[in-house]
Amino acid sequence: MAEMNDRLRRLRLQATMLEAWVSAGWIAPETPEYSETDLARACLIRDLREAMGVNDEGVEVALDLLDQIHGLRRALRRVGDVMHGLPEPARQEVLVILRELDEA
């Protein structure tokens, strides 16, 4: 526990703040301990509120949109990986279709 408090201090985070963000649904720890992802997300929330002057309503919107962007980036990367794994004739076929779409 003391270790975590030390960690939080170095990240310029406060335990009470994190608890408030959990109740707001901004952070959703899956275990009683905060994961690295939870802490990184908390640092983002800290930056949004302090460095960028975003108010609480704005934080909610920003997080929601960021979650969507990361979901999309993940989906896009998957599509990209599949494209790269295609055999050459199929890749060429996709490229031709994309070029036709661009010209249409």
């Binding site: 930056d47 949004l48 460095a51 960028m52 975003v54 929601d64 960021l66």
Partner: protein, 310 residues
Amino acid sequence: MNEDPYDVLGVKRDASQDDIRKAYRKLARKLHPDLNPGDKAAEEKFKAVSAANDILGDAEKRARFDRGEIDAAGNERPPQPPPGWYRDHAEAGGPYASDAGYADMMDEDELLGALFGRGARRRGGAGGAQFRMQGGDIHARLAIDFLDAVNGATKRVTLPDGSTVDVTIPPGTREGQVLRLRGKGSPGIGGGPAGDLMVEVSVGEHRHYKRRDDDILLDLPVSLTEAVLGGKIEVPTPAGPVMVTVPKGSNSGTVLRLKGRGVKKRDGSRGDAFVTLRLVLPDKPDADLEAFAERWTAGKAQNPREGMEG
């Protein structure tokens, strides 16, 4: 990284602390790495901006910098937090990943659903990867009357499981056409959309009408008197009866075109009806007619088979 902090924040030497705070916030909102997940250059700029703000944002440090006691890099504290930027965690599809940005596309398309991956969860959900699948299509057949196909109708179909569905037959439906009723097929799995109901239509014959695409063909009996003298007669069509003028001296086989009296089209207009006149003599032999034909010289002289060769 050792640029002049005033230049980095884009403020003048005599800017107020408030101006500096505003300038920093504006740049931070634009450059924060978590708001620019794919942009490495933004990260470098953000570090520089943060370092500049560390000095100028603090009135005491700013005074020391202005006096030359510390240089621009003197108190640089790298803003990178120990867990790394949030963006480095987010894309792995952790508990915060949301498919709200494209869930609608997955619903429509099985291929996209497979490509995008179904691992992403909606925030606040119960957790655990969901398996979603569209339900299967159900196929059914429906026999309809000729006129229902031409004019459109609503028919009830009984499905294999005993349930019934009302099917709208659009005007102009053709033999063998398959009507797709979205979402009326088997229910989906795991919240996936239901399949479709596919109804194949067979169209019955009509006693008088034949169909050629959007046109209606009709044989119309006319009497000798009507053919020779002409006149107005009533003609039945799928769009209702219509009065038609038969020209004087119309022959058997003459085709009259009734515009807009055929099959209803998608755009609301109709095809045409083509009426082929068919000369019909009186049911019983008529003495007057026979007497007239006996003494009708021009009739005897006419050879309708002229030019016909075996």
